[in-house]
Symmetry: C2
DNA sequence: TTGTATGCGTTATCAA
DNA sequence: TTGATAACGCATACAA
């Protein structure tokens, strides 16, 4: 059995209250007793029980992270950054891989509630607004509008779409296709698409939108892409994400299409992984670190002042573009 | 304020005990009261407080996951699988990214203890045996020996090293190099290296071991690899992991070395990510899903019977080899 | 079939 | 500067 507070008290020859005071640096204690207590704690290898502590209305210092998963490098990196930041501030993370499953996400929400988490960072969005509404819990969201009083952090998806399209145009493309996640109301991808759409129109070109679902297997995706490449005469492709872009590159190579001479490609996300292991890919870089930092900062503010009105509901962080070999050779 | 058990009792016109009985399906209750209670719970949107519940000596259903991080696709996928399995069994996961930092790992251990987790799955290994020793907690480990009574799960790293080397030999390589993490006692990489070493000797070839540290930036790694490729006449390279293999491919391409004609390459890990987005890479596939399942199963058994002697300390799961275009063209 | 009383390990209130 | 005591929300032994 693990040592408890009263054991420490007994060993140190003081009252439980005094031990609690030492632990929490609360009220007045003489150095002598403080030392005695510290010694006893060492000897017994004492660890305060967070559960009992939290039961008393203190914070749990637990934060729930609801994301689709961590096997996708983008979410892996984002979750890792968030975890790091939270750790620095004394929070622990309960990881919830909601996949793309409404039921699981709902179940997770209930669980987090039962575990008295101090707050939630939501990056998976299978559920509607109402489900998140009824929680009296501090919540911040990544990349999607959940509810009136939930702040949203995202990167400038629209501008990303604009820049990617424009870069292809500037590099000489006149048949620019958009390949990626199908449109779905409220999805951040939509803004990337809007950016593409508006730019294409502004440039006087023709829209070519090819939905390729996220949930499809890469095998199916690559077949769809090959079909696209062989049946259409695209000279530039704006991809909704880097992984799709990798598939496009792969498909092009298999078809003997030269990149960037015959076909130029842009991705989206710009994870460290992509930057390091696919430096050839031109892509829109999301500021993962800043996103993580802001999410955490907003959540902590919300935890500290739950009733404070939101000064700002939406935070859009700037993206940057990496121009590389899938656009230009030099 | 959230509704508590006594609120439900009041609303339903019964005693708290009865409500508790309904929640836990304990003892006898009439259908009528059961319904009343359920109704009251619905109305108040009641969620039992896990903390209070666990304080009573019940399990927390919390499991700590200590891994280097989740941005590396291999760990990302493994953690995701583990989380899925644990979720199915009603456990929640506290995610601990220990990076390669002793202090952080130690700090996490204390934290997990304070949070009364039911058990720990350890996949980061900065700390020595003794630090894990003093925990009276069920622990299972991935890929490294921690302590006498901690079961270890790993894939057959040795055989992986053997197979990779042999495959290169069979494909015609006679100057086979080993590139990867430097030797470090207790590291699983060591077994991959041993497999390489033994096979090279058996084949009567010369050993060529080139340590490239994990912690180095890919930039530095790639420079080291380029140097290796230009100064030595390697015709086959066994890499400790797929990411290193990607860098070797990249370096070879930049140097105009033809794969697989002039140089053949094998990786290690075989994540879904690599299989999908780099199908050209020949690699040793670790059975991520089985590893996750076994880790969870062993932990649960340990939680259920903490004092049971270990039937088996070490579990080595079979790997398989994917032979692809970095070895042979057809 | 249901209710009362007590305790889990800690913190907060009050008194000494 | 310290200690006794009552909570926190729930589950269990015991009684009814």
């Amino acid at each position: 059995m693990r040592a408890k507070l009263s054991d420490v008290a007994k060993k140190a020859g003081v009252s439980p209250t005094t031990v609690s005071r030492v632990i929490n640096n609360y009220g007045y204690i003489s150095d002598k007793t403080r030392n005695k207590v510290h010694e006893a704690m060492k000897e017994l290898n004492y660890q305060p029980n967070s559960l009992a502590r939290s039961l008393h209305g203190k914070k749990t210092n637990l934060v729930g992270l609801i994301f689709p998963g961590v096997s996708n490098p983008f979410f892996g990196e984002l979750v890792e950054e968030i975890e790091n930041k939270l750790f620095e501030d004394g929070y622990k993370v309960i990881l919830c891989n909601a996949a793309y499953n409404k039921e699981k996400e709902r179940s997770y929400l209930r669980m987090l509630l039962a575990n008295q988490v101090d707050g939630i960072i939501a990056g998976a969005h299978n559920l509607g607004i109402d489900e998140y509404q009824e929680f009296g819990l501090p919540i911040v969201s990544f990349d999607r509008s959940l509810s009136e009083n939930v702040p949203i952090v995202s990167s400038d998806n629209y501008k990303g779409g604009v820049i990617a399209t424009q870069e292809l145009y500037d590099a000489g493309c006149r048949h620019i296709y958009f390949v990626g996640n199908p449109v779905q109301k409220g999805n951040p991808t939509d803004h990337r698409l809007s950016g593409y759409r508006d730019t294409i129109k502004k440039l006087g070109l023709t829209l070519h939108i090819h939905p390729v679902s996220f949930s499809e297997t890469p095998m199916l995706k690559i077949m769809a892409i090959k079909q696209l490449l062989s049946e259409h005469k695209a000279d530039g492709i704006v991809c909704t994400d880097d992984l799709t872009a990798l598939l496009v590159i792969q498909a092009a190579q298999e078809l003997g299409i030269n990149i960037p001479e015959q076909l130029k490609i842009t991705g989206f996300d710009g994870t460290k992984f992509i930057q390091q292991y696919h430096p050839e890919l031109s892509t829109v870089v999301q500021p993962t670190k800043d996103i993580a930092a802001l999410l955490v900062k907003l959540l902590e503010r919300r935890i500290a002042h739950p009733d404070e009105d939101l000064k700002q509901k939406s935070y859009i962080l700037p993206i940057r573009f990496i121009k590389s070999k899938t656009i230009s050779d030099n």
